[in-house]
């Protein structure tokens, strides 16, 4: 019997179609059809400029957006050949690991919900809310943050970041412990997850599978350890691996990775080089930057002479004091701090050179591939520039594409009911799979 599962089906994972040939409840053959969320990321990125691609990258793997942002920025920075300050690396690492936490929470929560453990889903989403509030404190948005810029980040961590972060992690650890108590030795959960969706390490490598899916089968390939980028080589953390390659192992790998992510964030927050530096002592009476611009437009120079521009709360963390620690020195790549844009002519020129039509961030012609460890595996961005202000080609190597191509092999031989935990542990994110 041919059974068509999808594309609109109850699993909250995305839209995919599986055409299964059944013999009773056993799946004999399965074929997957994807592409239902193809939104043309690669084509759109050729129509906007380099920083304009950032919102599109957010929506690739939308449960861990900052990892995508960071991967794209690092690929373009490699292409240009610039480096960012060390504190910026630390900030990116902290935010990436928080994103990884939200991804694993969502994945495990959704898997548990589909197996019937609805409470675990509610607990995981509760923990995710705390993390999203933390992300909102730093970036201004909960989900689609567009936090990184080519050459830096949007703004530094707020001064009072440590306390809420510790609170959020305390709640998250409580939730993980509760989930362990509810699931890990739960007879029903274990029976459904253990022994299903098994893939061997050789098969996984042949398909190009990376990330927790591969680590559940044994090999400990993690891009953060094997090809370190940012400051991962200076932070001490472990990479959990499984043994059998079934769904249960992958679930345990993800649970442990969450703990390791929190460990990375705590280490990074401790080791981070100090932030704001008073580059020039601020002299003159403070005038709000928008007021200064308005007065200058009407020609009221006396009112603004001797004043220094002060930016508003939405630009907190990106002012002149923070700029040296969150942005590269390359003036042709990143916008100046707003006090300079409004306050002196050099800053204004630098802003214009990056923003006005016909100018903009123009890397030299070249190509670069930079992989980062996404929540599903190796997320690589391959960028080609032809010297103009728009990317010539941006390719994202999606980690769950490889895993989904292996899905028929995982499903064949099992029963229909085994599809649910297997599909849950695949953690297919439609935005990343179909781009």
């Amino acid at each position: 019997m041919m059974l068509n599962i999808g594309p609109a089906h109850p699993a909250m994972h995305g839209i995919i179609r599986v055409v299964a040939k059944l013999d009773g409840e056993q799946i004999e053959e399965a074929e997957t059809e994807i592409g239902y969320l193809h939104r043309g990321f690669e084509k759109m990125s050729e129509t906007v400029d380099y920083n304009g691609v950032m919102p599109y990258t957010d929506r690739l793997n939308y449960v861990s957006p900052i990892i995508n942002n960071m991967g794209y920025c690092m690929a373009v920075e490699k292409l240009i050949g610039i480096s960012v300050p060390e504190r910026c690396h630390y900030v990116r690492v902290v935010m990436s690991e928080i994103s990884r936490l939200t991804d694993h929470l969502t994945c495990i929560g959704a898997t548990a919900m589909e197996l019937g453990a609805f409470t675990v889903f509610l607990y995981m989403i509760k923990a995710r809310e705390y993390l999203w509030e933390l992300v909102e404190k730093v970036t201004g948005a909960r989900l689609t943050v567009s936090y990184c810029r080519v050459g830096g980040v949007k703004a530094d961590l707020p001064d009072d970041f440590l306390e809420p972060c510790q609170e959020a992690f305390k709640e998250t650890r409580k939730v993980i412990e509760e989930a362990h108590g509810l699931l890990t030795r739960n007879r029903i959960f274990v029976d459904r997850m253990e022994g299903t969706g098994i893939i061997s390490a050789e098969d996984a490598i042949a398909y190009g599978i990376t990330g927790p899916f591969l680590r559940g089968s044994g090999p400990d390939f993690d891009v953060r350890k094997d090809c370190p980028y940012a400051v991962y080589d200076q932070i001490d953390f472990d990479v959990p691996v499984g043994t059998t390659g079934d769904n249960m192992d992958r679930y345990l790998v993800r649970m442990e990775e969450m703990e390791q992510s929190m460990r990375i964030v705590e280490t990074a927050l401790r080791d981070m080089p100090p932030g704001p530096v008073q580059v020039n002592p601020e002299t003159g009476r403070p005038i709000s930057a928008s007021e200064m611009v308005d007065l200058a437009k009407v020609g009221d120079i006396e009112a603004i002479s001797g004043g220094c521009a002060v930016t508003g709360p939405t630009l907190e963390g990106s002012g002149r004091a923070h700029h040296a620690s969150i942005a590269t020195e390359e003036k042709r790549a990143i916008l100046p701090p707003k006090e300079d844009t409004y306050g002196n002519i050099e800053g204004l020129m630098r802003q214009f050179k990056l923003v006005m039509f016909g100018h903009g961030l123009r890397p030299p012609a070249g190509e670069a591939y930079h992989p980062v460890e996404g929540a599903n595996g190796e997320l690589g961005f391959y960028a080609i520039s032809d010297g103009s202000g728009q990317p010539y080609r941006v390719r994202v190597r999606p980690p769950c594409f490889a895993i989904m191509s292996a899905l028929p092999e995982l499903l064949v031989g099992g029963s229909i009911a085994d599809m649910t935990p297997t599909f849950g542990s695949v953690n297919m994110i439609g935005g990343e799979l179909d781009r």
Partner: protein, 193 residues
Amino acid sequence: MNAAELIQSVTSRYADRVRSSHDYRGDATIVLQHEALVEVAQFLKEDPALQMNFLMDLTAVDYSTFGKAAKPAFFTSSGVTLKPSSEIPDADPWPGPPGSERYAVVYHFYSMSHKHRLRLVVPVDESVDDLDTLTGLWVGANWLEREVWDMFGITFRGHPDLKRILMYDGFEGHPLRKDYPVNKRQPLIGPQN
């Protein structure tokens, strides 16, 4: 192995098939003739010094409008040149597109044991059916090659099932080609705008 040694180990064996090579920004890149693709890929996978067991990525680039981005008319008509150039200079410039052919199919390989990466660039023309499939060596190449066919129209000889993957069956054209306009929609239902 570092980038230079990787390039050396391939070019020393296949000197007549390698068109050029470089390591721009530290990425070892080899531009290869399309006939030698499967042979070189097999060498990369099986040679003990290389052991590239991962086919990380398989994609294509359409180089037909390279460097021909329209200059903004605002400046060209006024005769004002953009000086100083806002383009960021490069001490060690990139050699440029791999050939005169329209497309280049790009393969990224990774070795888990030796932790090194290599990029193979194979220039192809659209009209010829030149490339062999790599599904015999890596099963994951199946879907990746289907995506290249879907987006660019490049066929792979010997592929078990070359059909559309991201677009639907009735779609005509190959969207990522440079001559496909970005918002030319071909809706299945709804208004034809």
